[in-house]
Symmetry: C2
Subunit: 329 residues, 2 copies
């Protein structure tokens, strides 16, 4: 009982009748439809989705790609990515799409074209531009069914959904200054445009005298990497009274490293993170952070992609981040 033909034989009808009965399409006598369906149930038969899709010229799947351009390790265990992935899975499932997950190490310049042309999915969602803007643009010129999570840039040929990272950086700057902090530091990765924007917004908002002395500390985005960077930073005798960490994970690492050096948060030092992932709430102390609407972003990504698939013309969307005050500042 592998194919529609087997069931047709058993039911004593033609394959097209079985097809009509099981898909519900076309016109068919209600009784034969019921009979065929009952027979299918009894034999545990279901239409083969792959063949169905081949015939319909679609795949029924959307690819979710995580380019690991600037960071090689463990991207997926980053709470931001996994939260985004969870919401994408829900949204896509709701629209009847499968989610094809692919972590890609962009060693080959053509990784995106390769993926697209292999025809495995009807469309793709790229989470994070990483340092792959050029590749994304190249593909976008000949391929429409793509949406990217990340900062909007009018020069890009592709559609994005993402937070206003510059505004996020501004929020962080205003908050630390309002707390009376003056010796500040920024912990972040600068290879990715999102992080560069957070830094830019942060710096441009600070008063000149404060900005002049800001420490810029480049870190890896992994817990280990950021912890080590923070340990080295404090170990060198640096004692800022306010830190803007470009992600909540970095912020948590900073708390840990600070504690090792006898620096109490928020008493000696105010700390503000970015993302507002779930663990930010259960950190000790709970993190003040710049909130990104991950669920809303996921919904928008899927929505925009589906509308592109339907031939609509859609534009990029920028989400406004907001301050969430907890106890680390």
């Amino acid at each position: 009982m592998r194919s529609i033909a087997d069931l047709a034989r058993i039911a004593g009808v033609s394959v097209s009748t079985v097809s009509r009965a099981l898909t519900g399409k076309g016109t068919l006598n209600e009784k034969t439809r019921e009979r065929v369906r009952a027979l299918a149930d009894a034999h545990g038969f279901r239409l083969n989705v792959a063949a169905q899709n081949l015939r319909l010229g679609r795949t029924g799947a959307i690819g979710v790609l995580l380019p690991l351009g600037h960071e090689r390790c463990q991207h997926l265990s980053d709470p931001f990515f996994s939260a985004m992935l969870g919401h994408l899975a829900d949204e896509l499932a709701e629209r009847g799409y499968d989610l094809l997950l692919s972590r890609v190490l962009p060693k080959r310049k053509d990784w995106l074209d390769d993926f697209v042309r292999s025809g495995r999915t009807d469309g793709i969602i790229v989470i994070g531009q990483s340092d792959q803007g050029a590749t994304l643009n190249r593909t976008a010129r000949s391929y429409r069914n793509m949406v990217v999570w990340g900062a909007h840039d009018p020069a890009n040929a592709y559609i994005t959904v993402g937070s206003d990272n510059v505004a996020g950086g501004q929020i962080a700057a205003r908050h630390l200054v309002a707390r009376g902090r003056r010796r500040l530091a920024y912990f972040g990765n600068i290879a990715a445009p999102e992080f560069a924007a957070r830094e830019a917004g942060f710096l441009e908002t600070l008063p000149d005298d404060i900005r002049r002395d800001v420490d810029i500390v480049p870190v890896h985005l992994t817990p280990e990497g950021s912890y080590e960077a923070a340990m080295a930073y404090f170990g060198a005798g640096n004692r800022p009274d306010g830190i803007f960490a470009a992600s909540d994970i970095i912020a948590m690492s900073v708390i840990g490293a600070a504690a090792e050096h006898g620096i109490a948060v928020p008493r000696d030092m105010s700390l503000i993170g970015f993302d507002d992932v779930l663990v930010a709430r259960i950190a000790t102390p709970p993190l003040t952070t710049v909130h990104q609407d991950i669920a809303g972003g996921a919904r928008l990504l899927v929505d925009l992609l589906c509308r592109r698939l339907a031939g609509e013309h859609v534009a990029s969307v920028t989400l406004t981040p907001r301050l969430v005050e907890r106890e680390s500042s």
Copy 2:
């Protein structure tokens, strides 16, 4: 330039020659092979994977299913799941498989059979048995290509890879007792067999006089849920001097709630978690925890599944957890 036939026409050869040139299979003149390949490159042509797979009687994808039986919210943002998923993505990619991600709310009894019979994947990996043991067994009786992450039970018809949770619970009990703690509590969910086993191992190892007074605190596995449970527990005046939390996320919530009640970890109370996810290392204080080998587990899951696909007979594997001492105990 959609199909192999178009390219064949341009190259002035037959479709099978193009197929042989591009797949590398079969025997072909080196020069024509090169010529066809160059032409394909020039036109940006790639074989359609879906059609290829249909012809080969495979899909080239493995389904990774997350049954959300006992917990509805945000399973994927649980660091354990996302770490597992990341490793599975790597392992499957290495073997040339796509990863089809599916979160499923098992409202229908037949969700697993439905998925299997839709023929979307060549095999499936189920992460966590949740409370779906009966469904898994039913499917396993007629479907071989399935491997499950979770506790082994000889009564099951399906193959599992999972940690020895009883042993993990024993480790936690011995550790807290060795620290001189006597008023103990267990925070965990008991609907899933994994958690029930951790509790059982924990209780059975404690001396009688300690076990008699252990508090069993049922919690949800989300950060919010576990935080609230811990707040209520401490708010009711409970003051244990040692806690075994069934996951690191629960443990972190406990630290936060304890701090709110003036309880310092580890001074007033020793705390031990479970999983050893990355955030355990950057928690404040860093968590003592029972380590599960997630990367090794993922590798085994994929390995066992591939061997089943190849027709081999393979058996379940149980991984031995181990204590990782940090500063929360």
